[in-house]
């Protein structure tokens, strides 16, 4: 848009990056830090992916072939922890770093040095966590939910490092959220009112509040574990008047908002991409904002639906069942709005759009299986089976992860100034789409038939579904290595991208040159209606 003035000054604020390693260690630049987050997250994704493939290799056939059960437990635990805290969450923070300042017309994040600190805590924390796998007694083996007393009385000694690792990750998330909140509330360009903000910014604002509210509770939970293990307290020990179930309540008070922390930014990404390729404004912008806020609010009053089978008063079961089902309403609003945005749009199907459409369909499948799990008496049957595994992988892999991949394809030309190869991108999409469904769809069936999760061996009746699932997992895993190849090829030798990149793209980030300059908006841009509301 010609009326958008993008000012560049040659004053001393406009220096470029440092040279060499110092640039990455000491940077305060939101784009550098965003890049660090994204590459860190991709590294963790591959490490967690290798663990997933070790699990699927063992489960390829019934019987114990490759690894012993103790190591299998460490793999399921660390796969979950690494994917949740190391891959998905940092990827979204990386995207927020790259995009939020550009989208709201800010020069950088509000607190740039703290931004660097939020990132650099993570590699250290994960180095500590992963190193426990090589220590005497092995790494964490109690599941990513680390229920007491598995994680206290019966835990390996390395649980101490796991606890401190969680403290570090929590500190990182809290500082990251504070930064995002301050940036969004304080750094918007004049004219960028709250209800003109791109939905990615809105969803991240709400996510940041969720993080601020629940990461300290997680810190409290692991602190109680630490004291139970080392200082003789009895929070989670009934012999001293505590209760292991109390751990589950505290954990899921964190854990349920946590799963929305991993999906709300995904909603934001999809709400940016679908209007671009449908060439229509987002249908129901206001209702999208309110739906996001409603989901966030509801996330605080549904936690015990993870615990229907541990025993809880009937009133509690009913309350948590109904409140959980209520979430389907705002989520339904969202799915409706995405579909209505595409309705009669001039649609094209570039790679980001393919991933976004797959997100809408497959996330909805995950949402429906969630609705099934919300029904208390039904959950008695499904609890801790592969049905649950299928459910949350449907919302996390073709949900959260697909949205991240879509975002990378969508904004990569803006980040590096080069266009990815469309046919390679589409190949990556179809491999991923097929791989993810072949992996996780059969798990619905084995789960409904009663196959328990987190067990290295299974009854013969589950053999076929597990073999199919393992084949799908390898297709999916190797197609992400292919993604790495597509990324490197784009960054090194992609065709130069235009500033607007996509014909139908709106938003302040597209008014900047491609690649985006080291400092985005040294002076605030004018926000026109054409660039708002996408």
């Amino acid at each position: 848009m010609s009326e958008v003035v993008v000012a560049h000054h040659d004053d001393h604020h406009d220096h470029g990056p440092d040279k060499g390693l110092a640039r990455w260690l000491f940077t305060t630049n939101h784009k550098d830090i965003g890049t660090l987050y994204l590459w860190f997250s991709f590294t963790m994704f591959l490490i967690g992916g290798v663990m997933a493939l070790i699990i699927r290799t063992e489960l390829f056939q019934p019987g114990l072939q490759f690894i012993d059960p103790a190591f299998f437990n460490q793999m399921t635990t660390n796969h979950g922890l690494i994917m949740v805290f190391g891959a998905i969450m940092p990827a979204f923070v990386g995207l927020a770093n790259w995009l939020v300042p550009m989208m709201v017309g800010a020069p950088d994040m509000a607190l740039p040095r703290m931004n660097n600190l939020s990132f650099w805590i993570l590699p250290f924390a994960f180095a500590m966590l992963i190193s426990t796998l090589f220590m005497e007694g092995g790494g964490p083996n109690f599941g990513w939910t680390f229920y007491a007393p598995l994680s206290t009385t019966y835990a390996p000694d390395t649980v101490t490092y796991f606890i401190f690792g969680v403290h570090l990750m929590g500190a990182s998330s809290i500082m990251g959220s504070i930064n995002i909140i301050a940036t969004i509330l304080n750094m918007r360009a004049p004219g960028m009112t709250l209800m003109k903000m791109p939905l990615f910014v809105w969803t991240w604002l709400i996510t940041a509040y969720l993080l601020l509210a629940v990461m300290p509770v997680l810190a409290g939970a692991v602190t109680m574990m630490l004291f139970d293990i080392h200082f003789g307290t009895s929070f989670f020990n009934a012999a001293g008047g505590g209760d292991p179930v109390m751990f589950q309540h505290i954990f899921w008070f964190f854990g349920h908002p946590e799963v929305y922390i991993m999906i709300l930014p995904a909603f934001g990404i999809v709400s940016q991409i679908i209007p671009t390729f449908a060439r229509k404004p987002l249908f129901g912008y206001d209702s999208m904002v309110y739906a996001t806020a409603s989901i966030a609010f509801l996330s605080f009053i549904v936690w015990a639906h993870h615990m229907f089978t541990v025993g809880m008063p009937l009133a509690g079961q009913l309350f948590f069942m109904y409140s959980t089902m209520l979430i389907a309403v705002p989520t339904g609003v969202k799915v409706f709005n995405w579909t209505a945005t595409m309705w009669r749009g001039s649609m094209t199907f570039e790679t980001p759009m393919l991933f976004a459409i797959a997100f809408v369909i497959l996330f909805t499948i995950g949402g429906f299986s969630g609705l099934m799990l919300a029904i208390t008496p039904v959950d008695y049957q499904y609890h801790d089976t592969y049905f649950v595994v299928a459910h949350f992988h449907y919302v996390l892999v073709p949900g959260a992860l697909f949205s991240i991949i879509a975002a990378v394809y969508y904004w990569l030309p803006k980040w590096c100034g080069r266009m990815y190869d469309e046919s390679l991108g589409k190949l990556h999409f179809w491999l991923s789409f097929i791989g993810v469904n072949v992996t996780f769809f059969p798990q619905h069936f084995s789960g409904l038939a009663g196959m328990p999760r987190r067990i290295p061996d299974y009854a013969l009746q589950f053999a076929d579904f597990n073999m199919v699932s393992s084949i799908g997992a390898f297709i999916f895993g190797f197609s992400q290595v292919f993604f790495l190849y597509v990324l490197i090829k784009t960054i090194r030798s992609g065709e130069p991208a235009t500033d607007r990149v996509w014909e139908g793209a709106h938003g302040l980030e597209w008014t900047l040159p491609s690649p985006a300059p080291y400092h985005s908006f040294t002076t605030p841009p004018n926000v026109t209606d054409a660039e708002a509301h996408s």
Binding site: T27, W120, N237
Partner: protein, 304 residues
């Protein structure tokens, strides 16, 4: 055009080695603490070195980092918008602290309202108590734990006596000390606003003294609990919730007192102006927060 003295430009520090060193220091500190605790648990001679290196790194780098921010402010780099970012930052940091305490208060309420009656054989999950420890009688404070062989109950609790005997009740005096300190820190703030240096130093100094007095009384209370009451961390759920709630509060008071002490030193240097005293203001917000937590503690841990 933006330049270094132009107040309209948002100051973006070019680069900084502080955050990376803080992250590395935090890792050393916590990994060192992990080694220490695991050595203790295994009965080995504990190794403290890594912990001390990490803690020292944190302390030194934080000192330089804060000094740098103050220096930037004096150089006129901190415009009004950046100051608002600091305000948002501190405000939401305090909110996250509230949620940290909420986890421990939640544990206290859950244990008292649900766990203990169940362990006593009542309600939806009463069977646990009936089968395992049928002789357990739920009461608060818990003086005899469900399994006294594993967790020996406290000899006496810290629960408040009748109103008439509050004169000899240490936590009551702690409440008085801490509530007064919230008032004195407010007077110190007013003194900055009125540019009354003498009053600022007096009230702020008094606040720091009250903080120290609180900590001394709290230490006295702990010594009393351990030596005379037989109330320890391992006295069951009462001791667990009591010491973690009051302990983390005490830790926050220690931090808050230290932060206020730094503000006192800055006040001696004449760092604060009526329109430019964010360091002091954020310290005082933190102090009020610590105070509110104590009031909740006093009500729910000691009195009720």
């Amino acid at each position: 055009m933006a330049n270094s003295t132009d107040q309209s430009a948002y100051y973006i520090p070019h680069n900084s080695w502080y955050p990376f060193l803080i992250a590395a220091g935090a890792l050393c500190m916590l990994a060192g603490l992990g080694n220490w605790l695991n050595d203790l648990k295994a009965g080995d001679e504990p190794s403290h070195l890594l912990f001390y290196i990490g803690s020292a790194t944190l302390a030194v780098v934080l000192f330089f980092w804060f000094a740098k921010v103050i220096e930037e402010n004096h150089a006129g780099l901190t415009n009004a918008q950046l100051k608002r970012s600091y305000v948002w930052g501190m405000g939401w940091f305090i909110f996250s602290e509230v949620m940290f305490f909420a986890a421990f208060f939640g544990a206290l309420f859950y244990a008292r309202a649900l766990v203990l009656p169940w362990l006593g054989g009542e309600g939806a999950k009463g069977l646990t108590g009936e089968y395992l420890w049928p002789e357990f009688k739920p009461e608060w404070p818990v003086m005899t734990n469900p399994n006294p062989d594993v967790f020996q109950g406290p000899g006496e609790s810290m629960a408040a006596p009748g109103l008439g005997s509050w004169g000899g009740y240490l936590p009551f005096w702690n409440t008085v000390v801490l509530l007064s300190s919230s008032v004195t820190v407010h007077f110190a703030h007013t003194a900055i606003k009125n540019q009354h240096r003498g009053k600022l130093l007096g009230w702020l100094g008094l606040t720091v003294l009250l903080g120290v007095a609180f900590l001394i009384l709290q230490a006295e209370e702990y010594i009393h609990a351990y030596n005379e009451l037989g109330l320890t961390l391992s006295s069951g759920i009462y001791g667990s919730t009591f010491f973690l709630l009051t302990g983390f509060h005490g830790f926050h008071v220690t931090l808050g007192t230290f932060i206020l002490l730094i503000q006192l030193l800055r006040a001696f240097k004449g760092d604060f102006r009526p329109d430019d005293c964010f360091g002091f203001e954020s310290a005082s917000w933190y102090w009020h927060f610590v105070d509110v937590v104590w009031v909740c503690l006093f009500i729910f841990v000691y009195v009720m």
